[in-house]
């Protein structure tokens, strides 16, 4: 263990920019004039001015595409013209048609919509200034977090507001289904990519060349979501590497001097899709995007969604990231237009960078007091307090948690000069759909009776299962707010749980246990690959700094006053631990020979519902399909479950012994042997 590499940075001192509310001006001046004002953004200094049309022909005439077209012709025997036509139609389907008039239309309507929905939209203007600088220097890639459909409209709206170059945005093809809206989005800069095109060489070639051409020529900032899709849980999703690879490639090949990656953190006080997500996680399939569906959704317009904070992070230079990590000479011996699978070192570099960028997004996410309250209420609910928690007690706990989270470096927006009780009650009232206050006591708004129904108790027309699911909607909604704060507590929580499961004070054993948990959860949370020691040091540092822990050369000791912190932290991870355990149990007990990947979620859900109704599980949260998918992914990664290729589509083969031992280790029944660690 590199105990020298102490986590020396004090998170409390982290300097962050101030915010400005952009809606304030919108409330005081004409939206129409705003939408029609002169728009003259600064551009990339190496820009070759070109229209969207010339862009397409540049792509079509590129050496890269020529090469792939001829390759496809050779392999399939198709005529060149035929393939070329396919390429043109792929490009047609994909390409954006950015038009200022459409942007102006959105600027006008979104102003109206935003003013009704939100109290404020706060932006760090220093970040905007940095972005403006970056846009002139190098091609820019914008990497916003993805929590809502709103994200990319919001991004374009902000850039328009600040007179910055409008981005072109990689959007999933599902939007195209909404006829009119799809075209509108296209004209506001979205380009569409199919969700999966695994083996389609031609599609990949067109797509990557299209993105690279826009980037290299400095046509516009390229925007995409590292997480690939909207996070339904408000936890950051493990990053997808495809697009990041594409935008880094011109740097590796020397086609641009540098590329600036700008992580953007968008935090919603209340997420528009809140209960939609919860339902989706519980297995009610999400409605297919359609224009009429969107119009139906307008009842959301009458509600208060609080404020949005958008933080434009420090631009990250790909060149600096790659310094000493990527040997660019590897491209010297093959013409650069011939597609090549990324080498091992490039793959791991892109992967590490992606994690660092998602971490950068996380760090600048603004947390509202409600996030802390949701964490406390969830823990309280589980501890079996049927009558909820007294308001003043909740306030006391919230203040305690506020101070703790700040010490851990959270970017918490807690109103400075308001009494805590007011802060708490106004937070609760914004989320009144999720909580109920009666007789000065607060609890989650679960069902009619105010508590989980006793198992098996009949109720008119509502089956116990339906009731469970409707409670789960509230719990998962609440959990999604708690999840916003997870990244702040994650490392200390892993340490706390490690101490708990190791049931030993030996530093080495705690570390083994920490390392095991961290590895187990690396599909669940954003944990940078290969940073186990660093994370451990960071966790120790934070817990020691806050007086919860004493760490000596050999031992790790929980202090008297640290008890409360450690209980809170372990409770934070508990639902996940239990979720992974129950998935393991399911695989051992119920997985048949023929279980396919597709059947996995419904089957495990059934299993969990059964156990929840029987009162054998504490956490309703484990119903989340996200958690179930992640645990399966972890087991697959660790080799405890294998996917059989060839035969039945994705049949799962379970290594019962290994799954069993993983379950026991998670439950602290088995020590984390060194052998296991080494193998993992």
């Amino acid at each position: 263990m590199a105990s020298k590499a102490v986590y020396s940075r004090d998170p409390m001192l982290k300097k962050r920019d101030d915010f400005e509310d952009i809606l304030e001006e919108r409330r005081n001046s004409s939206d129409l004039r705003y939408a029609l004002r002169c728009y003259a953004p600064v551009v990339y200094k190496g820009l070759c001015p070109s229209k969207a049309g010339t862009l397409k022909s540049m792509v079509l005439q590129s050496d890269q595409l020529h090469y792939v077209i001829h390759q496809v012709c050779r392999e399939t025997g198709r005529a060149v013209d035929d393939v070329q036509e396919e390429v043109s139609s792929i490009l047609e389907e994909m390409a954006h048609r950015l038009q200022l008039s459409t942007v102006r239309f959105f600027a006008f309507t979104l102003s109206k919509v935003f003013k009704t929905l939100f109290r404020s939209i706060c932006v760090n203007e220093e970040g905007i200034q940095r972005l403006q600088q970056a846009i002139q220097e190098h091609p820019v890639v914008l990497l916003p977090s993805h929590r809502s459909y709103m994200d990319f409209l919001l991004m374009s709206y902000l850039l328009y507001t600040y007179d910055l170059a409008l981005p072109v945005i990689a959007a999933g093809m599902d939007f195209m289904g909404m006829k009119f809206v799809g075209e509108m989005l296209r004209m506001s800069g979205a380009f569409f990519i199919r969700r999966s095109f695994g083996g389609d060489k031609l599609y990949w070639a067109v797509f990557s060349e299209y993105v690279k051409t826009m980037l290299k020529n400095g046509f516009a900032p390229v925007e995409f979501f590292l997480e690939g899709t909207r996070s339904r849980t408000s936890k950051s999703l493990t990053p997808k590497l495809g697009l990041l690879n594409i935008v880094m490639d011109p740097f590796f090949k020397g086609e641009v001097f540098d590329v600036s990656l700008v992580p953007v953190s968008i935090s919603y006080e209340r997420i528009l899709e809140e209960s939609l997500y919860a339902r989706e996680l519980l297995g009610v399939p999400k409605p297919k995007e359609s224009t009429s569906g969107l119009i139906k959704a307008r009842k959301v317009l009458s509600e208060d969604y609080g404020s949005i904070h958008v933080y434009f992070g420090q631009p990250v230079s790909v060149r600096s990231l790659a310094e000493g990590r990527v040997n660019r000479c590897q491209f010297n011996l093959i013409p650069r237009h011939i597609p090549k699978k990324p080498s091992e070192d490039i793959h791991s570099f892109v992967n590490d960078s992606a994690y660092r960028l998602v971490r950068a997004q996380e760090e600048n996410m603004v947390l509202k007091p409600w996030v802390l309250l949701a964490s406390l209420l969830l823990q309280n609910q589980v501890s079996g307090q049927k009558r909820g928690i007294a308001l003043d007690e909740l306030t006391e706990q919230a203040v305690w948690l506020r101070d703790l989270s700040r010490q851990y470096g959270a970017f918490l927006h807690w109103p400075e000069h308001t009494p805590p009780s007011e802060v708490v009650s106004s937070s609760l009232s914004l989320h009144r759909g999720l909580v109920r206050i009666s007789e000065g006591r607060v609890q989650l708004a679960l069902g009619q009776t105010g508590g989980p129904a006793a198992p098996g108790e009949p109720r008119s027309a509502v089956t116990p299962e339906e009731e469970l699911l409707s409670q789960a909607v509230i719990i998962l909604s609440c959990a999604s707010y708690r999840n916003q704060a997870l990244h702040v507590f994650l490392r200390p929580a892993l340490l706390a749980s490690a101490i708990h499961t190791a049931s030993s004070n030996k530093k080495q054993e705690v570390f083994n246990s920490f390392s095991f948990l961290r590895n187990m959860f690396s599909n669940e949370f954003i944990l940078c690959p290969g940073a186990t020691v660093q994370d451990f040091e960071e966790a120790c540092y934070l817990l020691v700094k806050t007086g919860a822990l004493q760490v000596t050369q050999q031992d790790v000791l929980v202090t008297e006053r640290g008890h409360r912190t450690l209980v809170f932290l372990t409770s934070m991870l508990d639902p996940f631990l239990q979720g992974y355990q129950v998935v393991c149990r399911f695989l051992c007990e119920e997985a048949t020979e023929a279980l396919t990947e597709k059947q996995f979620i419904p089957a495990v859900r059934k299993f969990i519902i059964k156990h929840l109704l029987a009162g054998r599980l504490r956490y309703t949260e484990v119903l989340s399909s996200d958690l179930q998918k992640n645990s399966l992914a972890a087991l697959l990664r660790l080799g405890a479950v294998r996917k059989i290729k060839g035969a039945e589509q994705g049949t799962l083969k379970v290594n019962t012994v290994m799954v069993n031992s993983l379950e026991d280790t998670l439950g602290g029944k088995l020590p984390t042997q060194k052998a296991v660690i080494a193998r993992l």
Binding site: G46, R328, C329, P335
Partner: protein
């Protein structure tokens, strides 16, 4: 004294400095007409450094300076600027570098012999050498003069009067047999030999390895400068390797021939040096590079003399042993005699230039010219910064009419044709051959240029472009008087990478300077100087104002190092023609692979097992 005069005459009519026209446009420097070549009976090595600077480029009396009015002038009686003032240089200099004429950094004027380490002599070697009658010297000045090339750090140290390890003595062999004797004696007495030709190295190749404990002898080939015979039937000439470029051309010209090999350093660099570094000449498109020009090489090594048995124009006899010699950078032996191809002197020469709206178009044009294999004798493309630099070097115009014409030209290009003065760039051309063919060729090239938006911009601009090459080294000395240091370096790169490498290396230089605390943006500029079928040679110039830096040379070296890394990362070669020396040897292994390195090492081990040629270049 008589011998000296042979060293600075340039009487070839095509040499850029010698132009019979009156003084406007391209004409700057005229070479003083001096008596022809004199017999070599009384060569006296002592005088060489008397007419050459000991701490800068070229002749002692020839230098740029700013006069009392702050206008740039060129001094001396060898190159004559006929009453010409360069009015634009001061402004360009001050604006580009943020330098000021108030802030001077003068060089130490005199060589302080007592600061030079006393020589470590191998007495036995000296004794035996004496008996051979070959002239030698242990004089401090002689030794310091041969202890360096022209890298920035070398010149900077000299200007500050600092000397590192220098050779312990200098010998002047007069012919091949003298060299054989010297090498035998050196092997016998375990003395380290460092061959010295023209001293124009820019790769630290001439630096004495500080770790060398043996006596170091500088073997100066300057007295081996005869043309031994000319074979008009086969169009070859057999020449001693110490001959300097301009002498070789002049002597051949007298009998109506030329080699056509014109590296930028040809005033001072020697034939042996060209062979040892794989030199390249400006007009290689017609005449070829040094490897195309040599027919036969004789080299003296510790194992004996290496040469081929015949002068067949091409042989299939295993790997060409010439290729062990060319580029060996003085690590294997001394090249003493070379048989070279010669050509009848061209009947007609014409300069030309083309202005392009931007560098991208210019490169595309050069690529097309290379594709059609119709490159003129020389074609070079300067970027915008260098175009401006060249512009600043324009001499004062003599009449209102010419200034009016210049104004019109500028108006035509920038206003009428819409070229952005901050983006346009210029290609300079040199055509050579029959008059008729030259004119035809010229048309072909201008037609291609037109397809890429190029406009013919006249002969004068072309001439001035080539002149920049020859005066740039003198200009560096001027910069060093005012806190400005810089240097050039080169690479070769495939065509599809040319634009990328130019952009990235220039940007890297700017970024590195900023990160290392350079107070003013540096001059970071490039030009494409040679075209090949599969790529081009690119030259970078880089200079900055070092006021406020405590160790400017170190900063310079770090930036140059970073720039070389960038070149390699962008698919450029370690060197096109400057060589590796000691400056770039850290990258040799990755350049030629482990096995390649082993091959070179095993050749060295066989040819020179005791490391007599111990300059430690290359490997």
């Amino acid at each position: 004294m008589l011998y000296i005069s042979t060293k600075y005459q340039i009487i070839r009519k095509d040499f850029p400095f010698y132009l019979g026209k009156t003084a406007h446009g391209g004409l700057w420097v005229q070479i003083k007409n001096l008596p022809g070549h004199l017999p070599k009976e009384s060569p006296s090595h002592v005088f060489l450094q008397e007419i050459m600077k000991w701490n800068g480029w070229g002749y002692s009396d020839s230098r740029f300076l700013f006069n009392k009015k702050g206008q740039a002038e060129f001094t001396g009686k060898r190159y004559i600027i006929i009453g010409m003032i360069i009015p634009g240089l001061k402004d360009w200099f001050e604006c580009t570098f943020g330098a000021s004429l108030q802030h001077k950094t003068p060089a130490t004027p005199l060589l302080n012999s007592s600061a030079v380490q006393p020589p470590t002599l191998n007495e036995a070697f000296v004794e035996e050498l004496k008996s051979t009658g070959i002239p030698f010297s242990q004089d401090a000045e002689d030794r310091v003069f041969r202890a360096h090339g022209h890298c920035l750090h070398e010149i900077f140290a000299l200007r500050e009067g600092k000397f590192g390890r220098v050779p312990d003595m200098v010998v002047w062999p007069n012919c091949h047999n003298d060299v054989v004797k010297i090498v035998e004696l050196a092997s016998k007495h375990n003395v380290c030999l460092i061959p010295y030709g023209g001293g124009t190295s820019v790769s630290s190749a001439l630096e004495c390895p500080p770790e060398e404990t043996r006596s170091i002898v500088s073997l100066d080939t300057s007295q081996m400068n005869r043309i031994l015979w000319v074979d008009e039937k086969n169009l070859t000439a057999h020449v001693e390797a110490g001959i300097v470029g301009q002498d070789l051309e002049r002597l051949l010209n007298e009998s109506g021939y030329c080699t056509g090999h014109e590296p930028d350093s040809m005033e001072f660099s020697s034939l042996g040096g060209w062979v040892a570094t794989r030199a390249s000449g400006m007009k290689k498109n017609i005449y070829g590079n040094i490897e195309d020009l040599v027919v036969h090489i004789k080299m003296v090594t510790p194992q004996g003399v290496i040469e081929k048995s015949c002068q067949g124009p091409r042989m299939s006899t295993g790997p060409d042993i010439h290729h062990f010699i060319m580029g060996s950078e003085g690590t294997l032996g001394v090249v003493t005699e070379v048989t070279m191809k010669i050509r009848p002197m061209p009947e007609y020469q014409k300069y030309g230039s083309v202005v392009f709206p931007n560098f991208e178009q210019g490169v595309a044009c050069l690529r097309e010219v290379a594709r059609q294999r119709c490159a003129p004798a020389s074609i070079r493309l300067m970027d915008n910064e260098q175009f401006k630099f060249g512009h600043a070097l324009k001499p004062q115009v003599s009449s209102i009419f010419t200034s009016f014409l210049d104004g019109l030209k500028k108006f035509y290009i920038t206003k009428f044709k819409g070229f952005d003065p901050n983006r346009l760039c210029v290609a300079t051309l040199l055509f050579e051959g029959d008059r008729e063919k030259v004119l035809q060729h010229e048309k072909q090239v201008y037609d291609i240029a037109a397809k890429f938006g190029g406009l013919a911009a006249g002969e004068d601009n072309g001439q001035r472009g080539y002149m920049l090459t020859f005066v740039i080294a003198y200009l560096r000395d001027l910069g060093m008087d005012y806190y400005v240091i810089g240097e050039s370096f080169e690479t070769s790169v495939p065509w599809d990478r040319v634009l990328d490498i130019c952009r990235n290396v220039k940007a890297r230089i700017v970024r590195e300077c900023k990160e290392r605390g350079v107070q003013f943006p540096p001059l970071s500029t490039c030009r494409v100087t040679q075209t090949y079928d599969a790529g081009a040679c690119v030259y970078f110039y880089f200079a900055f104002n070092y006021r406020g830096l405590s160790d400017p040379v170190h900063v310079y070296e770090q930036v140059e190092h970073a720039a070389r890394e960038e070149i390699l990362a962008n698919g450029g070669s370690l060197s096109h023609h400057h060589g590796v020396g000691k400056l770039r040897k850290e990258w040799m292994r990755e350049t030629v692979s482990n096995v390649g390195m082993g091959m070179l090492k095993s050749v060295k081990d066989y040819v020179d097992p005791n490391n007599i040629f111990g300059n430690r270049n290359l490997l």
